[in-house]
């Protein structure tokens, strides 16, 4: 008669392969086409952003041009895609040739602006998310693990931050402190940490009372060790999911602030400002591409990060089925 142990051996030796949670998550993600397409889009976007200087030299239009370059001679700006390119793509590099058209009255090259705008969006998305996650992990884990008064104070702080009207506060602060790249990043991080923070807090609260934590304490592990070695690794799932969603949120928030004119200073290209530049005088009615190009990129980017986040959440969900 086979003992339980022997059956167990047969199982691990190839009949039904036991897979670790990580292997399962990757297996699920590989079948999630929406998430894969989103990931592919994000990779392309990163390449597009990195290619900024290449576009500058290809088109001959620097990202921040002064009047001395002479392009402001074009009184007919804005111009549409391939405007002034007599021989199509072969003419790229000529002063008057704009591949995707040129925006606003200074003659910013749309392609170059979009590329550097992508750079701005990604930097803000990633740095703001990094800060958000650091604060969320720190406060969420402390609140969840320590409990008691510490937890009450941190949890109420989260409620207060959640209740703040973000745009109103951001606009007021922008007027008071003056907008810069760091200002935008900080203001976004300050208003986003509470959400993942709550998630981590809840996660740690439920983990803290699990028996394996008592078992670790039984073996003489200190609180620091329990948090770092036993609890943190279990937060990697939610961390990845909310990081992805947070990047989307930060990019959208920056675009909103810049659109309203309270975001980045003028020398930093931004999709949000490109959209708002198309508004005065009804420019977008005659030149819809001024709004359509940055608008579409913005929507696709935010969508991609959100869908990737959703895909990760499904992949990491322990109830997600076993894919036999």
């Amino acid at each position: 008669m086979a003992t339980v142990e022997q059956l167990e051996d047969m199982k691990t030796e190839g009949m039904v392969l036991a897979r670790t949670p990580r292997q399962l998550a990757f297996a699920r993600l590989r079948r999630d086409y929406v998430a894969l397409i989103s990931l592919a889009f994000i990779v392309l976007l990163v390449l597009f952003a990195l290619a900024g200087p290449l576009f500058e030299s290809w088109t001959g239009h620097p990202v921040n041009r002064s009047n001395s370059t002479g392009v402001d001679d074009y009184t007919l700006l804005p111009v549409g895609p391939l405007h002034g390119c007599a021989d199509g793509l072969a003419s790229v590099g000529e002063r008057a040739c704009f591949v995707l058209g040129a925006s606003n009255n200074l003659g910013y090259d749309m392609l170059v602006q979009l590329s550097f705008g992508a750079r701005t969006s990604l930097i803000i998305g990633i740095v703001a998310t990094f800060l958000t996650m650091v604060v969320a992990l720190l406060l969420g884990v402390i609140a969840g693990y320590v409990g008691g008064w510490t937890d009450t104070v941190i949890a109420r702080l989260m409620d207060v931050v959640a209740a703040f009207p973000f745009l109103l506060f951001a606009i007021a602060a922008s007027v008071a402190f003056g907008a810069s790249l760091w200002f935008v990043i900080l203001i976004i991080a300050i208003f986003s940490w509470f959400y993942p923070g709550r998630i981590f807090r809840g996660e740690v609260m439920s983990l803290r009372n699990r028996e394996f934590v008592t078992a670790a304490r039984m073996l003489g592990a200190s609180n620091t060790r329990i948090v770092l070695r036993h609890l943190m690794p279990q937060l990697i799932g939610p961390l990845t999911v909310y990081a992805s969603l947070s990047v989307a949120g930060a990019i959208a928030a920056e675009a909103a602030l810049s659109y309203l004119g309270f975001g980045l200073p003028l020398e930093i290209p931004s999709w949000g400002r490109m959209i708002s530049d198309a508004v005065p005088g009804g420019l977008y009615i005659n030149a819809p591409f001024l709004m359509v190009f940055p608008g579409t990129l913005l929507v696709l980017t935010v969508l991609a990060f959100n869908l990737l986040g959703d895909g990760l959440r499904d992949a990491l969900d322990p109830r997600g089925g076993t894919l036999l």
Binding site: L7, D9, F212, A215, A216, L219, G220
Partner: protein, 337 residues
Amino acid sequence: MRLLTVDDLRTTFRTDDGPVGAVDGVSLSVDAGQVLGIVGESGCGKSALSLSIMGLLPKSATITGSIRLGEQELVGLAGSELRQLRGDDMAMIFQDPMTSLNPVMRIGEQLIEAIRLHQRVSKAEARRLAVDGLAAVGIPSPEDRMRAYPLELSGGMRQRVMIAMALLNRPRLLIADEPTTALDVTTQAQILELMRELRREVDAAIVLITHDLGVVAELCDEVAVMYAGRIVERAPVAELFAHPQHPYTWGLLASLPGRSGAEERLYQIPGTPPSLLHPPAGCRFAPRCAFAMDACRTDPAPLLTATARAGSAVACRLDQTTRDREGVRLSGTEAER
């Protein structure tokens, strides 16, 4: 050699409804190489007692009394000092091996961590010790199992890993809190067999907490019967089954399957255990006891006192003759068969 001495231990939990005295004046002692069984129904304070000894109680609990491990007093010890003893001088096996191993760490990592918390050895040396530890608890191909995650092992295997982990640093005191309860019957037998073997090999004092008198009969030298936070009877294992002295113990023995006739319903002690929030004034078993006198309900319960039976002590007002007679009659013990 006396290894564990618990003296008048009181563990009180602070709750919204008021203090709950989960352990109420428990005294006991265990020698090295001896197995003490603690039996009682759910909620009688068995687990609170074991967590008190290990210093693993939540912050809402307070302890008074004395717990000595060898010569060292544990009550009032600083957290860091207690941490050095835990896992080294004393270790514990938990009820449910499904939840007491970290699901996202490999078995090997967890074992190596347990060793390196208390022994200054290299990673390679710790790994070798861990493999030996797994082999000692009868895990086949321990080298391979080191790389497994808990979910890849069956319940019985996980409990073996848990036992190996508890024994890694050769503790002097091992507390096993219902080590077989969460396992199926065949696995239970295997784990009990393992514990019996280990008992001979490791020279530790073992406290076995269980509600299963069958397990007690197989493994223990001595038994303490707990009821509502107090020890009501303590006796060598053979004595307990042959001459149970406390009415509660009679009820426990009588409710074992196979004691009454096969066709009969299992015996059941009437009533339910008291709430520890408002325990009865006198003897805590009095409300359910067929022999309770007026004094049992009003006067403080008697302390554990030695009986005429060798090594046995009981906290009961009944006289020796009545206890001997009724004990044999009501619990349907071997003496009767």
